[in-house]
Structures are given as structure tokens and as C-alpha cells.
């Protein structure tokens, strides 16, 4: 009989072990964890993408530049991509076309623009199904598209990153860019939601 397998170490202890290895090799991981967590919490937020979308809704010349070169247009507003994301494509929704992004192989997103991907985006159900059953999956997630709307799914299999440029909701004429930006969600920039027209206020 062979020896029984030792039980798997708790995940926190496995993280400790990896951190210790990196520390032994002089990489100062504890300082980096603080810095990286702060960056993720404060700088990689969906408000970045929301500002880009709101600018595209209000400035036709910016919209044209954004659709021609997403990376350069994002940089105009001060938003950068990691070095390995060399190309950023904004996908224009129209009344007849709806775009939705995914990463069937893992979890790739333009995380500096829309924030880190949500749990469900990285989960197996979304990854397996959205490419094959897009209309059904979107409906289950609360987005029941009319049958005449063409669905375009974008699978992020390379380091080109995609962001959906959603339709501007009706009832927002004359709104400031800042107020428009407050309507734009991470879900809308992934493409699993359309942005609802705001409720009329008195």
C-alpha cells in the first residue's frame, strides 16, 4: 500500500507559499500586493469606459476616432492599456446590431477600461454557452432582444481587446457628458445589458 496522499493545503497557505518564494528571490511581494490592489480598486474601474462612451455619444468626431482606433481615443482621455494589449476595438451597437464580448478560453477583458471581469464572465456557464446560445443566454440574463436584431459575439482569444459602445438611451437629450456617463455600466460595455432610458423625473 502506498502512503495516503497528504491533504491539500488551504488556499490561503498556498498563496503564502508563493508569496514567500517571490520574497526569497527579492521581488518584495507584500509591497506589490498593496500597490496592485490599490491600482485595481481605484484605477481599473468601469467609470473609465463610461467616460469614453459618454464622450462618443456627445462628440461625433470623437466617436469616429474611437471606432477607428480605440487605443488612441482612450489615451486622449488619459486611459492606458497594459503593454500586451496592443489593440482596442470599440464595437458599435445600432438599433439593428447588438454586440457582446466573452473569453471562452479564460477571462480576457479590457480591464483597465471596464474594470476587472465579473465572476460570471469568468465562470464556465457563460464561457461555454454565450458563443453558441447567445440569444438564449442574453434573455436569461434579462436582455430579451427583438428577433430582427443581429447578435455579434466577440471571443477574446488574442490580446486585442473589445468594448461594446452601447446605444445612447432615449430621453437623454441635452444631458451633460458626466450625467450620461453615470448611466453606463460594466454589463452594458460587456454587452449583456442595454442601457435603459432614464425614468422621467418631475
Amino acid at each position: 500500500m502506498s502512503d495516503p496522499q497528504p491533504s491539500v493545503a488551504p488556499i490561503e497557505r498556498r498563496v503564502d507559499a508563493v508569496e514567500a518564494v517571490l520574497a526569497t528571490h527579492g521581488h518584495r511581494p507584500s509591497e506589490f500586493v498593496v500597490e496592485a490592489t490599490k491600482t485595481a480598486d481605484e484605477r481599473w474601474v468601469p467609470e473609465n469606459g463610461a467616460r469614453i462612451v459618454a464622450r462618443a455619444w456627445t462628440d461625433p468626431a470623437y466617436r469616429a476616432r474611437l471606432l477607428a482606433n480605440g487605443k488612441a481615443a482612450a489615451a486622449e482621455l488619459g486611459f492606458e492599456l497594459p503593454r500586451h494589449h496592443r489593440h482596442l476595438v470599440f464595437l458599435e451597437d445600432t438599433p439593428d446590431v447588438h454586440n457582446v464580448i466573452c473569453c471562452t478560453l479564460c477571462s480576457c477583458t479590457a480591464f483597465t477600461i471596464i474594470g476587472l471581469p465579473p465572476d460570471w464572465y469568468k465562470d464556465f456557464d457563460y464561457r461555454a454557452r454565450v458563443v453558441r446560445e447567445s440569444r438564449t443566454v442574453l434573455k436569461e440574463m434579462g436582455l430579451d432582444l427583438p428577433p430582427e436584431v443581429e447578435i455579434r459575439v466577440w471571443d477574446t482569444t488574442a490580446d486585442t481587446r473589445y468594448v461594446v459602445l452601447p446605444l445612447r438611451p432615449r430621453g437623454t437629450d441635452g444631458w451633460s457628458e458626466e450625467r450620461l456617463a453615470s448611466l453606463v455600466t460594466k454589463d452594458a460595455m460587456i454587452g449583456v445589458a442595454r442601457i435603459a432610458a432614464p425614468a422621467r423625473s418631475s
Binding site: V8, A9, V131, V137
Partner: protein
Amino acid sequence: MDGIHDLGGKQGFGRVRHSPNGPPFHAEWEKRANALYGLAVRAGILNMDEYRHAIERMTPRHYLSASYYERSLTGLATLLVEKGLVTPDELERLAGGAFPLASASAPGRTNAVDAPRFRVGDRVVVRNEHVAGHVRMPAYIRGKRGVVVGESPPYPFPDAHAHGVAADDEPTYDVRFATSELWPNAADDAFVHVGVFRSYLLPVP
């Protein structure tokens, strides 16, 4: 590799557990795991293709039962061992228990010698290839026909870059496939766009 990670189009999965505006992290260790892989990339210990492939090499049972950040940590730890920064025994001593790692890698490959260039509008077919090492061609497009709708700047070729094999950078093409081509009579009607490396494509004769 035809690994468990290659999930696109697999059947039997359920409803998406959608949580609008959910936080990206749920525990302190997840933030640390995420930061540590970022540190390893920044320090030049590993590149993104090596990291992705290390996760893909997890045994299917482990891959499917691990959370996202456990998969990330397992990929990172596997590469620290393979690159000689630590031994499995030392990792387990530090962790105080077993530390499951990913399986060994198959060899990588360099660019296709006969890879043509394409332009927007070209009709293309994905090569019918089964690649033992890292590859960024999801299985659901293998052998399928589509149309080029976009081109990216050149990127490191993943099949080589994940394995320390020399290769030229090459562009990816955004290729548009109809779901009726990918899963005839067995999918919702839609178009799927995939970023496909030049070496994976041939012109439609």
C-alpha cells in the same frame, strides 16, 4: 492542446450566475493571488502565454473544481517550479500540505512557414490542426470558414511564446463566423467573431 479550458460551445452547462455590479474579489487571498501573478509578469519571471498555458495544463478535475483565483495561483506556482525558483517539496513545506500543480507541457511550435497575409473581406478557413502545446485557436472554429473583418498589430505567437520557442510576431485577424457554420442546426442564429493568429488560417480556395 485540446484541454478542458477550451469551453466554447460545450453543452450541459447551466444558467449564468449573473450578479450585476458584484465585486471582483471576495477574499483577501484572491487579491494577493491576482497581484502575485502580475508581479511575476512584471518581474520578467513569466509571460502571459506561459501563464495561460500553465492554467490550461491543470488536470481537468482540478481545473473544474478550482475557483478562478485558485487556477491563477496554480498556474503561477507551476511556472515558479518549472523555472527553477522553487521545488514542489519546498512549496508543500511552505504551504504546510499538498500543493497540486499543473501537468507538464508538450513542446511548442513556431509560425507556419506558408502563412499568407489577409485583408478585410477575405474568406478564410481555419486549419484543421491539433496542437499539443499552447494554442489560442478555440476548438469550435477548427476547420470552419469565415470572413476577415479586422486586423490587429503583430503580437507574439502564443504557440511559441508559451514555450520559449523563437518565432516572429504575427497579426491576428478578427474572423466572423456564422453559428450555422460552427454548429449547423444546433445553435442560436448569430455571428461569432474570433481573434485568429495568421498561422491558424488558410485562404478559402
